[in-house]
Every structure is written in structure tokens, then in C-alpha cells.
Amino acid sequence: MPVPTEDVFRIEDLRIRAGKKELLKGISLSLRRNEILSAIGPSGSGKTTFLRCLNRLTDLEEGLTIEGRVLFKGKNIFDPETDAIELRRKVGMVFAVPMPLPMSIRDNLMLPLRLQSNSLEEDADGRIETCLRAAFLWDEVKDRLSLAATSLSGGQQQRLCLARSLMVRPDVLLLDEPCSGLDPISTAKIEEALQGLKKVMSVVLVTNNVKQASRTSDRTAFLLMGELVELGETGQIFTNPRDSRTGDYVSGRFG
């Protein structure tokens, strides 16, 4: 088995404050190529803030102070000369609540391509099929691509959002509790999709579901109150945690 070593993201001592409140208290970790890294922790632990940092969605929130460095392919994304728009095309994101826009399925998928009109895909239909297949949605929607995306079920909508974020071939995919509102079958399909996706990209999965982290991810990071308590191979985190708090959390003693 090839050992992926090159880091896509390198996060060095990342600190985020909102006013006096510290949301992240100095986090350092790296995201490797072709891995699924899951971030677990109780709510309020800062995992979503951490995730939103990686594509600079934190720009939308007023009053955040960000210190430390986040290197994406060696360049600090918080440098003034970094183009956040360009970054977000390389770092896709799927939200907790499925967020199809009020247009047809096809238009939803085409939107990311249309947004960057200078690089119009020549074979858009082929790309749509590829991405829908990767998200395990193709068979369910292939005959009704012109239907409104909001007519799909919640689980289908979430897979549509997953497919949509793949349209521009991102290097990294960020998932913010993507299965929190989904039924077990949709959840399984998304988890299966992620296993396929990691062959071509890296995935950061924030989840409240500890079992999901243990099923899907290669490495797991445990956050608590804005601190990175422990980061390690998923198997080690779940069977042999170094920190007792990690053990308490993954075994369900608090959370």
C-alpha cells in the first residue's frame, strides 16, 4: 500500500477568538493527501469553527480574531494576497443542513462551473454523471435532472450537495456533520462515497457521531473546549487512547 505523506493542509498554532471568548486555543495538525480525517468532540468544542477556517468561511463572520497559520499547499490562506474565491474552489464544503438552491438538479450541479465562467467545462453532462455517480445519486435522479432540487428527499439533497461540491474537482472536501439529519441508508451511501473520493482528494469530516468517525476515517482528531486533545490513527484513538478524556468521550461516558 502506498504511504501518502505529502501534507495538503498544515495548520500551525491556530487561535480564534470571538471577542473575549476563545473558540480555538492553538491547534496544530496536518491533513495528508488521500486521507479522511475526522474531527470529533462535544458541541462547542470548536470543530465547526476549525472546519470553516479551512476555506475561510470565517470571513463572513464579523468580530473574529484569527492568529496562527493555515498553510494550504505551502501557502498561508490568511495572507492578504491569497484569493479566498480561488481557495474555496479548491476546498469544497458540504453543510450539516442540505443546501440545494431553488433551481433544477442540473442547474444546481452546473452552478459551480458557471460561477467560474472562464473555465467552462466542455463535457458538462459527462461531468454531471461522474459526480452524481461518485455521490451514489446517479441512478436515482438520472431521468429527472430538470426537476427542482428541492423535490428530492433530504438524503438525496445532501448527496446532491456532495456531488455539486465535486464538480470543480476540489483537492479537499470539508464536511460539517453531513449526516446529522439523514436516515441510516443515506448515511451509509455518503460514507461509501467518501471511501471512493479519498482516492482523489483529502477529506475532513466533522461529526457528532463517534461511530461514524470510527467507521470512515483514517485518522481522528478529538477536540474539547477549543483544544486539540489527541490526534492519531482512528484505530488507536478508539482502542488505545493516550488521553483519558479521549477514552471517556469515545466510549460514551460524556459528550
Binding site: R88, M99, R114, L115, T150
Partner: protein
């Protein structure tokens, strides 16, 4: 059936009653205006002087003269052609919407999508305050202050012209359209914006391709309301239009609108005369006009919502 407390039933009755009163008022307005307008269709005496053909077809001003459209209800041979009034009304409405819609929608898009929070706090109430200015004040402004200026700038032959009146009318339309459109834009869930930004959209792309389409039903409703306001507005056009019932589509000419005609003439008309009944007939026309626009707008919005949400 379980008994509910008396106080609750009292409140429910009261609420039913208030809704009923509002609907009854609307129906009764229509009945009473319609009753006064009906002789135009039924009474032989009224029809002889002002029947439907007299209202809508060209009539010769005197025997042997070529037929034309004119509104001269108090001349020796009264002429009741409504066409000049229709044209004047539609003309000024179009001019005012031409000014008001881009300005109001642009302002709404700016405050909801681009303005900083503190700026929005200032801009929104100020524009909405425009609605609190009595229309007689706007009419005065158009009549005394801007008329000569507009005439000079555009090199028009008439001081009181459609362009000037339309701009004043736009000031009355803007707050209506702005308020409704801004609410529609602001109620687009933030998750739409975040999702779009996360796809690599600029804030302009987000506003134009995501927020605007999502808010479109509300924006369309805002435009329909603005149309209703423009077509029904009386005082501004009465003061600033010149009130000349000429059949002309030229925006540099004066005009006479339906509503201003009713306002100017109903106070002095002989009760029960054909002229009196024609004025009420005009009222019914205005009523039907706005009713149909609102209805068509509502249908369109419902259809659009179905299309957007995929419900069938």
C-alpha cells in the same frame, strides 16, 4: 366536542369579526361604486349621451367633422372619450415605474447584500420615511420646484409634462417597492449565501445568481404593489400633470389621468347626470385594473413558487 373557555371563544369571535369587516368593506365599496356606474350600461338617458361606444370609440366633435377621441364633459355637446385618460394614466405609470423600479430594487439589493450593518440601519428607515411624506407635498415639489428644471434639462415644450409628473410619482412608488423587496431579500436564508460562497462565488455572484432568484416571488410582488400605487395615485398627478386630456404617448406632453379626473370633477358634477355616472364608471375601471393586476401577479407568484420548490 370539548368545551373551550368562554374567553377563548370571545377572542375567536372578535378575530373572525375583524376579518369579516375588512372583507365586507371591500365588497361594499365595489357594490356602491358599481351601483353608481351601472347607468352607463343600463339607463337609456345616460347611454344616449355617454354609452360604451361614446366612451371608447371616436366621436365627431360636430356634425360633419372627422371623428376623434376627446374628453370634454362640460362642453355644449359633452364628449366622454376615456381613451386620452387611459393613455395618460398608463403613460405616467410607465414613466414612474421606469424610474422607481431600478432605483428601489437596486437600493434593496444594496442594503440586504452589500451594506454594512450600521449603514443598513440608516438607509432602510430613511427610504421608508419617504412613504410618510404626504403626496400633496410631493405634488407641490413637482409643480413648483422641479417642473421648470426638468423642462429646461430635457428641452421640453411644456412645463407640466409626463416626465416630471412620473418622476414625482416615482418618489411615492420607491418606498413601497423598496420595503417589500428588501424584506424578500433579507428573508432568504443565510445558508443560501454561505453555500454559494463556499462554492467559490463572489458576493456579487451570490447576490445576483442565488439570492435574487430565491427572492424573486417577493420581488415580483413588490413590483405589482408599486404598479398599484402608481396607477391609483391621485394628488401628485392632479397637481403636476397639467390635466390636459390629450391623446398622446409623448412623455414631454401634459396628460390627464383617470384618478385625477375623478378627483377634479366629482366635486362639481351634477348628481345623477351622465357625467356623474361616467366618473363612477372610471372608478370601477380603476378598481378592476388594480384588482386584475394583483390577481395576475398572485397567480404568477404561486406558479413560480411551485416551479422553484418542485411542488406540483
Amino acid at each position: 366536542m370539548s368545551r373551550r373557555p368562554a374567553s377563548e371563544r370571545l377572542i375567536e369571535t372578535f378575530i373572525r369579526l375583524s376579518a369579516g369587516v375588512a372583507i365586507a368593506a371591500l365588497v361594499m365599496i365595489f357594490i356602491f361604486i358599481g351601483k353608481e356606474a351601472l347607468p352607463v350600461l343600463t339607463s337609456p338617458k345616460v347611454r344616449e349621451e355617454a354609452g360604451l361606444s361614446k366612451l371608447f370609440l371616436p366621436q365627431p366633435p360636430a356634425a360633419g367633422k372627422p371623428a376623434r377621441f376627446s374628453w370634454q364633459p362640460v362642453s355644449k355637446v359633452p364628449k366622454y372619450s376615456l381613451l386620452p385618460l387611459f393613455v395618460g394614466t398608463i403613460k405616467v405609470t410607465l414613466v414612474s415605474l421606469l424610474f422607481a423600479l431600478p432605483l428601489a430594487l437596486g437600493a434593496a439589493l444594496f442594503t440586504s447584500e452589500f451594506a454594512a450593518a450600521w449603514l443598513k440601519e440608516i438607509v432602510k428607515p430613511v427610504i421608508e420615511l419617504l412613504a410618510a411624506i404626504p403626496s400633496v407635498v410631493l405634488g407641490f415639489l413637482a409643480l413648483i420646484v422641479t417642473a421648470s428644471y426638468v423642462q429646461n434639462v430635457f428641452g421640453l415644450d411644456f412645463r407640466l409634462n409626463t416626465l416630471n409628473a412620473g418622476m414625482a410619482l416615482a418618489l411615492a412608488v420607491i418606498p413601497v417597492v423598496y420595503t417589500v423587496a428588501e424584506d424578500a431579500l433579507s428573508s432568504v436564508p443565510n445558508s443560501f449565501r454561505e453555500g454559494s460562497i463556499a462554492l467559490g462565488a463572489t458576493s456579487w455572484q451570490t447576490a445576483w445568481r442565488v439570492v435574487l432568484p430565491a427572492a424573486f416571488p417577493g420581488i415580483f410582488a413588490a413590483c405589482v404593489l408599486g404598479f398599484g400605487r402608481a396607477i391609483g395615485e391621485t394628488m401628485i398627478v392632479l397637481m403636476a400633470s397639467g390635466n390636459a386630456a390629450v391623446l398622446s404617448w409623448n412623455a414631454g406632453h401634459p396628460f390627464r389621468s383617470l384618478s385625477a379626473t375623478v378627483a377634479a370633477e366629482l366635486g362639481e358634477v351634477v348628481k345623477g347626470s351622465p357625467h356623474y355616472h361616467v366618473l363612477f364608471f372610471i372608478g370601477v375601471m380603476l378598481f378592476i385594473f388594480t384588482f386584475l393586476t394583483n390577481f395576475a401577479g398572485q397567480m404568477f407568484v404561486t406558479r413560480l413558487k411551485e416551479k422553484l420548490t418542485g411542488a406540483r
